[in-house]
């Protein structure tokens, strides 16, 4: 019996849904004739890192479906499933461009590269290596970031190596490193399936990590006893499945988290045996303190005092703390609402405090777990050390022993690496604005839209006395307006390389098709740049990203990141493996810091837990006091402006706005106003509303709803034509240097 092609495609669509549920589905007829081949990859968007299968026919990508063998079990969100049109967008840059008389004009690779190198060499000759830099991305491949960082730090002795992960997860890094001594989560996505309490704070998981939200919702439905607490000033879609949605005055979450710790101790719900054995108590001046000191510190955070600060009823704090502590396994999940704050590191610490206090750590379902915004911020930038203060695999520039170890691994003379950390992101773009930074190489990111208080930095990019070389896929990215040279890279599945997602999972993005025109893999562009700059060829002996991966494995091997067992061949076979993974027969690691789970801990280690990132093997409970936002609302600017994502767009919309279905779903940014505030100001749905902060002002159409609490307005940041980052503030966390995108003061009035 034959079936029509249309029927066949329908069966294929249905079978993918059944496969996602793990249910067998018998096809009525036909075979897998739809595509010539399927190539395994990873979604290009958020940090969930969903596995995808890219369908190729006649050397073109025609479809994308979920990989049933990866953690997403075949599921994709709508934007993940609609990536195909982006590959073939008319805005693809397919040849190098040089700005001449103000216009970007086509050039040869040789001409463009010679110009880039001449400008970099000239800047270094006149102003020293500190006048140049590299600004990368959590969307670049791991191999690309490792290589760029190596070229600048080892080849040019320049530590001005940064990337956009500074804007999204630097506070999570700071939190993990100060609490546990090592970056990256202790647990994994598997914990969602075993948790009996999910504590979600500062994360709109439903819209920003839809496939994880699915897993959370499925967990709740599988066991109605599972409790979900959502702490967010907005009543987002995530809050729809929550047992408790706790709204609060923006910027007071540190007080709330300390208040929960206070209740846990007062109700004797803390795990004294655990924290007395595995925890060090430490105050803000890094002095060791006692548990009793901690109890005293928390006296300032009784639920009643917290209510005064945050607006959260005292009984709600008590109830929340009790659910958190009394559950058999609590998992916390957080994202930008916690990280993009001037005390983001402290907020991260305070979440981990609750886990260390209650012993909800290192058991299935019990873990603190930060979600990440980009597909390769973790694996690409955090792990390879693609930031100005870092070296690969958790090593630090300021530590001589770490520099010396890297010098040995990279074949450099001892003490030859530059010991001075470079400029962090905001300092780097400020230096460009001030004329101190003369030449910058930017890879796979769109800072002219994504930086906070962006007018200031766009002015800097416009200066005539600096030079910006951009490796960029799309001609309509805002930053292209400011580039002196644009180099066209192979995009996503047009070259091979590794992405590392939020759960320490490294997975291969396979090459499915050739890149168009003159586009080249970024690894080859970077090697070309290095050689033309006069970097020792022995430092960059790579033909492709697989060569870089081989070296990166060796560089990480002596550290607790050890993923020596994640070979290229294995990545091609398997749908992602979680590090540490020391040998080729190791299955990867679900839970860190626990004997029997974490291969870094000897099997005969005398204790069950070992926080080996700390010299005494103990994690830290920090005394972090309440600290509000950098710019609180006042009489002149009485509202709080917060920004974020919508489900159908990702980051600056450079990719998702090219998908007709997604563009039509959210064609432009809007301002979300609470029903109560709208009534007060006479604002109706669709009215023009003026937002004015101390940086700039802009008009948006209103969406009136009960999502925002009164006093708060929300604007998504995907829209280049309504660029909300002109209004946001660029104050940074003093530890992580991450900006406070989430809170600034604004005026709101009907326009």
């Amino acid at each position: 019996m034959g079936i029509s092609r249309r029927e066949f495609l329908k069966y294929t669509a249905a079978s993918s849904a059944f496969m996602a549920m793990g249910v067998p589905f018998a096809m009525a007829a036909g075979k897998d004739q739809e595509v010539d081949r399927w190539v395994k990859g990873v979604c290009r968007f958020c940090g969930t890192g969903c596995g995808v299968m890219v369908g190729v026919k006649n050397k073109k990508v025609i479809t994308v479906k979920g990989d049933p063998n990866n953690h997403n079990a075949g599921f994709l969100c709508l934007k993940g499933a609609l990536m195909v049109p982006i590959i073939y967008a008319k805005e693809r840059i397919t040849q190098p461009l040089i700005r001449k008389n103000g216009k970007l004009t086509p050039a040869s690779w040789d001409e463009a590269m010679e110009l880039v190198v001449a400008k970099f060499k000239d800047a270094i000759a006149k102003y020293g290596v500190e006048s140049v830099g590299y600004y990368g991305s959590g969307q670049a491949l791991t191999e690309e970031t490792y290589l760029a960082s190596k070229i600048f730090k080892a080849g040019l002795k320049c530590n001005n190596v940064e990337g956009n992960p500074r804007l999204c997860m630097a506070s999570a890094v700071g939190g993990y490193v100060t609490t546990f001594g090592k970056d990256e989560p202790c647990g994994s996505y598997d914990d969602i399936d075993a948790a009996t309490c999910l504590f979600i704070i500062g994360s709109n998981t439903s819209e920003c990590h839809p496939i994880l939200f699915k897993r959370i919702a499925a967990r709740k439905q599988a066991d109605p006893n599972v409790k979900i607490i959502v702490v967010d000033p907005r009543r987002t879609n995530t809050a729809r499945i929550a047992d408790m949605h706790v709204t609060f005055k923006p910027g007071t979450d540190l007080a709330i988290l300390n208040g929960m710790a206070h209740v846990i101790i007062q109700e004797e719900l803390d795990d004294y045996r655990f924290h007395s054995k595995y925890v060090t108590f430490m105050d803000n001046s890094k002095q060791k303190r006692t548990f009793e000191d901690y109890v005293k510190f928390l006296e300032d955070y009784t639920p009643e005092k917290v209510e005064q600060l945050s607006g959260v009823p005292a009984d709600t704090t008590r109830k929340m703390a009790k659910i958190f502590a009394e559950s058999s396994a609590t998992m916390s999940l957080w994202c930008m609402g916690i990280n993009q704050r001037i005390r983001g590191v402290w907020a991260n610490n305070l979440i981990s405090n609750l886990h260390l206090l209650t012993g909800h750590i290192g058991k299935p379902g019990a873990t603190p777990f930060s979600l990440t915004g980009q597909p390769n911020a973790c694996g690409g930038v955090r792990d390879t050390g693609g930031l100005c203060h870092m070296l690969p695999a958790g090593r630090l520039i300021k530590k001589k022993a770490h520099r010396n170890e890297m010098e040995k691994l990279w074949g450099l003379p001892q003490d030859s690496l530059n010991p001075k950390p470079g400029l962090h992101t905001i300092a780097m773009w400020s230096a460009l604005a001030e004329g101190k930074l003369k030449a910058l190489l930017v890879l796979c990111t769109n800072p002219a839209q994504s930086l906070p208080n962006v007018n200031k930095y766009r002015e800097g990019m416009s200066r005539k006395d600096n030079f910006i070389a951009l490796i960029e896929t799309f001609s309509d990215a805002e930053t292209v307006k400011y580039a002196d040279v644009v180099l066209p890279p192979a995009y996503w599945c047009e070259r091979e390389g590794v992405f590392g997602c939020s759960e320490r999972r490294y997975a291969l993005v396979g090459k499915a098709i050739d890149p168009p025109g003159q586009c080249k893999p970024t690894v080859n562009i970077l090697v070309d740049f290095a050689l033309r700059m006069g970097v020792d060829p022995k430092l960059v002996p790579y033909k492709n990203s697989a060569d870089v991966w081989k070296e990166w494995r060796a560089v990480a091997r002596p550290t607790p990141y050890n993923f020596w067992g994640i070979t290229r061949e294995r990545l091609r076979r398997e749908s992602g493996i979680r590090w540490p993974c020391p040998t080729e027969d190791h299955p990867g690691t679900r839970i860190r810091y626990v004997r029997g789970e974490d291969p870094n801990i000897p099997k005969d280690y005398k204790k069950k837990y070992f926080f080996y990132g700390k010299p005494d093997g103990r994690a830290v409970i920090w005394f972090r006091p309440y600290k509000g936002a950098a710019e609180e609302p006042d009489q002149a600017y009485p509202y709080v402006l917060t920004t974020g994502r919508v489900i159908d767009h990702w980051h600056t919309g450079t990719m998702t706005m090219k998908v007709p279905e997604l563009r039509r779903s959210f064609p432009k940014a809007y301002v979300e106003v609470s029903t109560e505030d709208a009534k007060k100001m006479g604002i109706s749905n669709g009215d023009n509303v003026l937002l004015e902060t101390r940086r700039d002002k802009m008009v948006f159409q209103a969406r009136v709803s009960d999502v925002c609490r009164p006093g708060l307005v929300f604007v998504p940041w995907f829209d280049a034509h309504l660029l909300i980052n002109k209004l946001t503030k660029d104050a940074v966390d003093k530890g992580s240097k991450q900006p406070e995108f989430k809170i600034c003061a604004t005026k709101v009035k009907k326009a």
């Binding site: 495609l9 329908k10 369908g55 599921f75 839809p210 699915k214 919702a217 879609n237 007709p660």
Partner: protein
């Protein structure tokens, strides 16, 4: 015309009503209720209406969210 595989994640108490409502939509084919929380749906929708049709399902009471497991836009990829 796009074809998409969708899993409609639904509150258990509303499953049958949601499934019945989707079945009434001429451009949707349902493939049953599964695991007491999912409805398998295949959408055959002109691509310029896809998001509106998905939104129409999202707006049904009891629908938590919709997951896309497959989309083919074969007709729209040049040269395929």
């Amino acid at each position: 015309m796009a074809i998409a595989g969708l899993l409609v994640h639904t509150l258990p108490k509303d499953l049958e009503a949601v499934e019945a409502e989707i079945r009434r939509m001429p451009d949707m084919t349902t493939y049953g209720i599964h695991q007491n929380q999912y409805i398998v749906v295949v959408a055959e929708v002109p691509s310029d209406r896809m998001e509106k049709r998905v939104d129409a399902i999202q707006d049904i009471d009891g629908v938590l969210t919709i997951y896309t497991t497959y989309v083919t836009l074969e007709d729209e990829v040049p040269g395929s």
